[in-house]
């Protein structure tokens, strides 16, 4: 029987609600708080108050990957260079947490993946070090410079000036006229990215649905809207510009190379074709979190034989 695409997407969204994993979320928040305190203790008056960014702050998180980011804003004179800032924060975090977490350098952040706890949970927090552009400027406009540790997309490794007002990024989603619909689309694209091991950064997947809503008349149910967003990405991703709301000079589209954009376009093309051809495919692209199945599935999970005859016949399967 064909899959009801709209119902499935809503079930997927429901199963990935962050509130379903409140205990795990609490653990993340607590860990982030401790890291924040440790950074403030270490750097004292060289830094401003760390704050939460990432998708949780934007209400676009899903419960398979929390995207708990902690921005550590430093004063202009705290470090001579952005690289020195980045390395100092890494060295500090590495020394402090090396026995309880894997600490690794990432594109613009430092990732901490804590060892599995007694509940079997793994807590991940990304720390994003940033430095104000000029002395005492940060409290006025919230702008920070980040350090690019490794190349991503068209942005070169070692380039040391991605100005980004992260608070403005958060407001960009929160303040959108169709924020509920936009958030749904962002969450679904994140579900797709997570389960299908896809390349685009979360930030990219946050901005492009907003652009789609701004450029197209997108209405209807969840499937209608997702289809329209996917069509927009398919058609526009290779040429779209996605200015960073934190700094319009930054084009977030540059976080993907041209071949990577082509690949994203193909992802959407094939996804639309396959779902059109076989609605069951949507279950693989946008799965339901098995841990939180929809209510009606919970009482319907007993194994049923398709053929009750008991006679063994070779099943109509695949061959080779």
């Amino acid at each position: 029987m064909a899959t009801d695409k709209n119902k499935h997407l809503n079930d997927s969204l429901e199963s990935h609600k962050i509130s379903k994993e409140q205990d795990l979320l609490d653990k993340h928040v607590e860990k982030r708080k401790k890291i924040s305190e440790a950074l403030q203790e270490k750097y004292g008056s060289d830094m401003y108050s760390p704050f939460n960014s990432g998708s949780y702050a934007k209400h676009t998180a899903m419960n398979k990957k929390f995207d708990i980011d902690l921005v550590a804003p430093y004063k202009r004179n705290a470090f001579d260079t952005l690289e020195a800032m980045y390395n100092s924060v890494f060295d500090f975090l590495y020394e402090k947490y090396k026995n309880e977490a894997t600490v690794r350098k990432q594109k613009v952040s430092i990732g901490l993946e804590f060892n599995t706890d007694h509940d079997g949970d793994i807590i991940k927090v990304d720390v994003v070090p940033g430095r104000e552009l000029s002395k005492d400027q940060y409290p006025k406009d919230d702008n920070l410079n980040l350090y690019v540790y490794e190349q991503f997309g068209k942005i070169d490794k070692g380039s040391d000036r991605i100005k980004s007002n992260i608070k403005a990024q958060i407001e960009n989603v929160k303040g959108h006229a169709e924020k509920d619909s936009v958030r749904k689309m962002i969450k679904l694209l994140k579900v797709w990215k997570f389960y299908n091991n896809k390349k685009p950064k979360s930030f990219f997947l946050e901005l492009i649905p907003i652009k789609a809503f701004d450029k197209k008349m997108i209405t209807g149910n969840t499937w209608d809207m997702l289809k329209a967003v996917m069509e927009y990405i398919r058609d526009e991703v290779k040429k779209v510009s996605l200015p960073d709301p934190g700094n319009s000079a930054n084009d977030v589209a540059d976080t993907l190379t041209d071949p990577e954009k082509t690949n994203v376009s193909d992802d959407m093309k094939w996804m639309l074709e396959r779902i059109e051809e076989n609605s069951d495919s949507i279950k693989n692209y946008y799965p339901i979190n098995d841990k939180f199945p929809p209510e009606e599935d919970k009482s319907n999970n007993s194994y049923k034989k398709k053929d009750g005859s008991g006679i063994s016949v070779p099943p109509p399967v695949r061959f080779g």
Binding site: P259, D266, W270, N278, D280, K283, N284, P316, R318, F319
Partner: protein
């Protein structure tokens, strides 16, 4: 109606820059004559030999020859003094003669008057007398001028062509003093029993006259070899046994090339010439014809130079699970595409009924599939290493939920850079879906009648495979159901399956070569205005 001879004469007479200097006549099957061909700057005479198939080719060669024995010093002149020309195909005798004469004129302008230097290196021309063949490949050793020693060889095959026996050998190793270096064949070939040993001498430059023609007589070889080697050759020759002698030199790209002379009757051409006024002798070579045999550089780059898979595939360990129709085709195609490291896994026996749609032979009878496939693959490529396992996947299944053992089995699977799962075993797909690596896993299968080929890749390989299988299930299965219980199988011919397998492998190789992330896909077939294969990606 004009005779063939008259037509030939008339054709030459009609050409403006050609004069017949010796009348054309029939000699046995041939038509022979002599013409003078002029180009601005010079006139050259050529003996013309035309064989009966002309203007068609004869055994892949042009059936007309323009010969002048005084042109050996020039490029693109064959061992018989004929000019090497390649003119377009033309079934019309008159037009073909005009085209061939134009070819000769072009050669005269470019190589005879122009002395053009080709960037492409042509091997020297060796007048073959002994049809024995020696195949050689690279060694991990840098030969130096004047070095000599022994080489070992193994007999690969013996065949007869036109009444001549052709023995083919592979050069196995070189010994110099107490050291030995092996040729870079696969283990299978290295382990072949040694047929014998020969001499080798590395001379740095080829032993030629007129730039491109190997010397014909032993005494002409003297300037190219050292007295020490001639003394050694003399000592070996006293045994009066047939011994092959390899002569090596470098070609312009730095590669070592070998040519080989044989002494079939064991009568070495060496003799000593007393140096007057001393008691010493000079080692000399007699004025007898060298029995040149054949060599072929069969090193990896030449063997697969005509076409191969990208190095990201050829140099990596590829595990093939399931050696049925698809698995054996995948294995065979990968090896013919230059893949060097193949691991095979299957527990099954090959039965006669498997032969018609896989890479197996009837002649080997009932045998383990992986044993026969290993044999087939090593016969194809002298560079492939094949490892086999039978029960490995059963162990993986048993170990799936048992901690350490599971880990060890999984880690073994992860050693492969690429896995082709052709087992059609859902359990295997389930296990592979749990691997952290390799990223490149392809679960291949076909639907009944080979209407579709399904290829699922990570992530979610297992889910995609099931989604595709269920979606493509037509519900009605036409089994091939021979007499007896539990024999039914799907219907599809070798051609049905191979066309899809080749398409799929081409698509996968393209993605590897262009670093495009792999996607699950299925190939669908249709007969809308002819046979069509359509790629449907996920």
């Amino acid at each position: 109606m004009m005779t063939r001879l008259e037509s030939i004469i008339q054709s030459f007479e009609a050409l403006p820059d050609v004069t017949i200097t010796s009348s054309f006549k029939e000699e046995g099957d041939l038509v022979v004559g002599q013409v003078a061909i002029s180009v601005p700057g010079d006139v050259v005479k050529f003996d013309v030999h035309i064989v009966p198939t002309y203007p068609m080719q004869f055994q892949g060669m042009d059936a007309i020859r323009f010969v002048n024995q005084e042109l050996f010093a020039y490029k693109h002149v064959n061992a018989d003094g004929s000019v090497c020309i390649h003119s377009p195909h033309c079934p019309d005798l008159h037009k073909k003669i005009a085209l061939d004469v134009n070819g000769v004129k072009e050669w005269m302008k470019v190589y005879y008057l122009g002395d053009k230097q080709d960037t492409h290196y042509e091997h020297i021309i060796v007048p073959i007398i002994d049809y024995t063949v020696f195949l050689f490949t690279e060694v991990g050793y840098n030969f130096t001028k004047g070095e000599f020693g022994l080489f070992g060889y193994s007999k690969l095959s013996q065949h007869e062509k036109d009444g001549k026996i052709i023995n083919t050998h592979v050069v196995q190793d070189f010994e110099f003093g107490t050291e030995k270096t092996e040729c870079k064949w696969s283990t299978y070939y290295k382990k072949m029993s040694r047929q014998g040993k020969g001499l080798y001498y590395f001379m740095e430059v080829p032993p030629v006259e007129n730039k491109r023609f190997a010397v014909k007589n032993w005494n002409e070889l003297e300037p190219f070899v050292s007295q020490e080697f001639l003394n050694h050759m003399y000592k070996v020759g006293r045994n009066q046994k047939p011994v092959p002698i390899l002569f090596g030199y470098r070609i312009p790209n730095g590669e070592v090339h070998w040519i080989v002379a044989t002494i079939p009757d064991g009568k070495f051409p060496n003799y000593g010439e007393k140096i007057s006024g001393t008691k010493e002798y000079l080692s000399r070579l007699g004025n007898t014809t060298i029995s040149w045999a054949q060599t072929r550089n069969s090193s990896y780059q030449y063997f697969f130079g005509r076409g191969a898979f990208p190095t990201e595939m050829t140099e990596k360990v590829i595990l093939i699970i399931g050696a049925g129709a698809i698995g054996s085709m995948v294995a065979s195609t990968l090896v013919r595409g230059g893949c060097r490291l193949i691991a095979l896994n299957d527990f099954d026996l090959k039965e006669p009924e498997n032969v018609c749609r896989s890479e197996y032979s009837f002649s080997t009878g009932v045998v383990e599939k992986i044993d026969e496939l290993e044999s087939t693959l090593t016969k194809v490529s002298p560079f492939v290493e094949v490892v086999k396992s039978k029960g490995f996947l059963d162990v993986a299944k048993m170990a799936l939920n048992s901690g350490e053992l599971e880990n060890s089995v999984m880690r073994e699977l992860e050693k492969a850079a690429m896995i082709f799962d052709c087992s059609t075993d859902n359990d295997v797909a389930y296990i592979l879906d749990k691997l952290e690596k390799p990223e490149q896993i392809f679960t291949l299968s076909v639907t009944n009648l080979a209407q579709e080929l399904i290829c699922a890749v990570p992530p979610n390989l297992y889910k995609w495979m099931n989604t595709m299988t269920e979606h493509l299930d037509k519900g009605v299965v036409q089994w091939y159901n021979p007499t007896g219980c539990w024999n039914p199988t799907f219907k599809a011919s070798y051609n049905d399956i191979a066309s899809l397998v080749q398409f799929a492998l081409r698509h996968i190789a393209y993605s590897v070569e262009n670093k495009i992330p792999h996607r699950s896909f299925y190939l669908s077939t249709s007969f809308d205005k002819g046979f069509n294969i359509k790629l449907n990606e996920f």
